[in-house]
């Protein structure tokens, strides 16, 4: 009874605030944020949305994006759309938008001046198709991070490395101490992502753009990318004893000092936070592997399927506004370990690693990420190649590079 009263009260305030017919509306939101740190972050979004008098119905799908996206897409194409859904902004939902299944948010965007508050601008660009805005970016996630366990290096008796090259040199010492030098989980996207990070770090920003943006197959087969494959070969040797699948299990190896480090996006930070570790003291983070300090502006965004129900459509607008609200942005991104999409929010509480990221962002050293540059089809082929490369020690660098160049050549 009390609960019902409270909902009624909330609904009343909501009705006052938005002066619309909106009573408490249930809106199902699907996402793949299920690890400890991620779940804590998404709870912040739910809290903020519930405070508007609507109700966030959580539709978490376990098993990372590769498992979740097909489920989301088949629900949308199959005529059972949810209220809102997570995708990585970029090309994942491209065809859904072209088929007219997604809601055009341009009106709300102009009203709330998204173009002025969202930074960097490229985020909103990847939500824009044919001049219309179709998604709300909620965070910036960059892959370019190397997470190192200070305890592991102490045990091995070597100083914590400052860049990738020092790290590779320290690998034998780690191995001697019974520590896995590099943790790479078995899920295909992990090895493929690690390679992309190496490409941007070892090869440099230009090489990265030439391969993935210009899709230059001759360059991809050339000597500069060969250097990157050499580095990937080092990584493969360092990672050969990781017997885990999920990325957070691999991160956990670093947290517990069983592995020296991991190349993983900044979402790994949430795991360190949940484990109660402090940046700089318990673990060290090296953006751009300490070689090329750039961060990619990939990340998560919410898309809103076109709904017939007017109440729900109204609630979608409220949710879109809530997601970009400065307060929500801070609360969510602190828990998630990602960077906020607004430049005007106060991040006093950010830890060392996040501050490093914010600095790089302020300097403007940003690159687009593969989600924005490549189709899912090409991404999948890349995943197949690199999961094979990392699991098969007898696959030669030359062979892998040739196949990589073929994929780049046929990319769309």
């Amino acid at each position: 009874m009390r609960y019902r009263l409270m909902t009624a009260a909330l609904a009343a305030t909501a009705a006052l605030q938005f002066a619309g017919p909106a009573a408490a509306t249930d809106l199902e939101v699907t996402h793949w944020w299920t690890s400890g740190g991620e779940a804590a972050a998404v709870a912040e979004l739910a809290k903020a949305f519930d405070a508007t008098g609507n109700r966030w119905v959580d539709g978490a799908i376990a098993g990372s994006g590769g498992t979740a996206r097909p489920i989301m897409i088949s629900r949308i194409t199959g005529g059972d759309p949810m209220g809102a859904t997570q995708f990585n902004h970029g090309r994942q939902a491209e065809e859904l938008v072209q088929a007219g299944l997604m809601r055009d948010l341009t009106d709300i965007a102009t009203k709330s001046k998204w173009t002025e508050v969202v930074r960097p601008k490229s985020l909103l660009d990847s939500c824009t198709i044919d001049g219309k805005i179709y998604c709300v970016p909620v965070n910036i996630h960059s892959w370019q991070w190397l997470w190192l366990s200070n305890a592991a290096f102490e045990k091995a008796g070597v100083p914590v490395p400052k860049n990738w090259n020092e790290y590779v040199a320290a690998a034998p010492a780690l191995e001697k101490a019974g520590i896995i030098p590099l943790a790479v989980g078995g899920q295909p996207w992990q090895s493929s992502g690690a390679f992309d990070v190496l490409l941007a770090a070892v090869g440099g920003t230009d090489a990265f753009l030439k391969v993935y943006k210009d899709k230059d197959a001759t360059f991809a087969a050339g000597p500069e990318v060969a250097k990157v494959f050499k580095a990937a070969d080092d990584a493969r040797k360092m990672a050969k004893n990781t017997n885990v699948q999920d990325w957070n299990q691999a991160t956990n190896l670093v947290i517990t000092g069983k592995a020296g480090g991991q190349i993983m996006g900044d979402w790994a930070q949430g795991e360190f936070q949940v484990a109660g570790q402090t940046a700089g003291k318990d673990y060290t983070c090296l953006p751009g592997l300490g070689l090329n300090e750039v961060i990619a502006t990939g990340g998560d965004a919410f898309y809103f399927p076109l709904l017939k129900d007017a109440d729900k459509a109204k609630a979608q607008e409220v949710l879109a506004e809530t997601l970009l609200d400065p307060k929500t942005q801070v609360a969510f991104n602190l828990k998630k370990g990602s960077l906020p999409v607004r430049g005007d929010v106060d991040l006093q509480a950010a830890n060392d690693c996040m501050k490093k990221g914010l600095d790089i962002l302020a300097k403007g050293s940003v690159i687009p990420w593969t989600d924005q540059l490549l189709s899912q089809d090409t991404q999948k082929q890349k995943e197949d190649l690199f999961s094979e490369f990392f699991a098969k020690p007898d696959m030669t660098i030359e062979d892998a590079q040739k196949r990589f160049a073929d994929i780049v050549g046929s990319a769309d």
Binding site: G66, T67, R69, P70, I73, S74, T77, Q92, E94, E95, L96, A99, G186, Q187, P188, N243, Q245, S375, Q376, D377, Q379, K380, Q381, D384, S387, E388, F389, F390, A391, K392, R403, S410
Partner: protein, 297 residues
């Protein structure tokens, strides 16, 4: 043929025919129609959504030059031969042993059939743990004193498919045993008596008299096993998700991954058409021999 006879044929057993219309429609629209649709769209470059934009055999060229697909086919062959041979042999031997009028037959039958009650997902997870080097069989044997013992199929690319086959055999053999046992029980006792009178040893009786008499049972079993082989998917997903690398990929998983997570329907359809083709190559000659031959006799 006179005109008056035709309606007669059509309206004979009218009730039965009307009653089967829904099933006929389902078969035609869902199975045949769906298959035709899939084959048609496998010649297009459909991405996330189906589009009629024909590209000829491009999807098939790409399919057959993809290492992952070739690995999948090879795995399916190994897995297929292993599960066919071993589940038939083990299933038959278990059935023959149970058929010796032993005590506690019910108990044994229940034990052997029990794994079949588990889904492939559960089976896969159970065997993922059993075969995990850090807490499965390898660890138990090592703790018993054999320090150098190594049994780690799921993390070794060259033998991972055998690790999956073990789980599949464990799950499926019980059912084959039951089918075989039913077949054995259907053999008249007099045959056994006659064989005994003639002094034929027991193994010879099984091999040359009983097994040929059980032909229908074997054919049923074969169809059940074969269909299980072609569609193997969930076991692999639960046990290894295709890993390490792409070493335990199977065709059905390729179809799913390319249709849904790679958002490339055309490629997925091409792969599923190839799967259909491989089934047809096996089924058609067999059906021809089985049904075509009988009519002529």
């Amino acid at each position: 043929m006179s005109k008056s006879e035709r309606p007669n044929q059509l309206f004979r057993n009218l009730n039965a025919k009307v009653a089967s219309i829904p099933m006929i429609l389902t078969a035609l629209v869902v199975f045949v129609g769906g298959t035709a649709w899939t084959v048609l769209y496998s010649f297009t470059n459909s991405k996330l959504l189906p589009r009629l934009n024909f590209v000829g055999l491009d999807q098939y060229y790409r399919l057959w030059s993809t290492p992952r697909w070739l690995v999948s086919i090879e795995n399916l062959l190994i897995y297929g031969v292993l599960s066919l041979v071993f589940s038939l042999v083990i299933g038959f031997i278990l059935a023959a042993l149970l058929d010796q009028k032993i005590r506690f037959e019910d108990t044994f039958r229940t034990i052997f059939l029990y794994p079949f009650a588990l889904s492939f997902i559960v089976t896969g997870l159970v065997w993922q743990w059993l075969l995990n080097p850090d807490f499965g069989i390898q660890r138990v044997v090592r703790e018993l004193g054999w320090e150098s013992f190594s049994f780690n199929p799921l993390y070794d690319s060259s033998i991972v498919i055998y690790g999956i086959s073990i789980a599949a055999l464990w799950q499926g053999t019980g059912l084959i045993m039951c089918l075989m046992l039913a077949g054995l029980r259907g053999i008249d006792d007099d045959i056994w008596k006659a064989a005994r009178v003639d002094g034929i040893p027991m193994w010879k009786t099984y091999l040359f008299i009983i097994i040929p008499m059980m032909r229908p049972v074997f054919i049923t079993t074969l169809v059940i096993i074969a269909s299980g082989i072609v569609k193997v998917y969930d076991l692999v997903v639960a046990q290894t998700s295709g890993g390490p690398g792409i070493a335990s990929e199977v065709p059905a998983k390729y179809v799913y991954d390319y249709m849904f997570s790679a958002q490339n329907l055309g490629q997925g359809f091409a792969a599923s058409t190839m799967m259909l083709l491989s089934v047809l190559i096996v089924i058609v000659p067999w059906a021809y021999l089985e049904f075509g031959g009988r009519k002529r006799v």
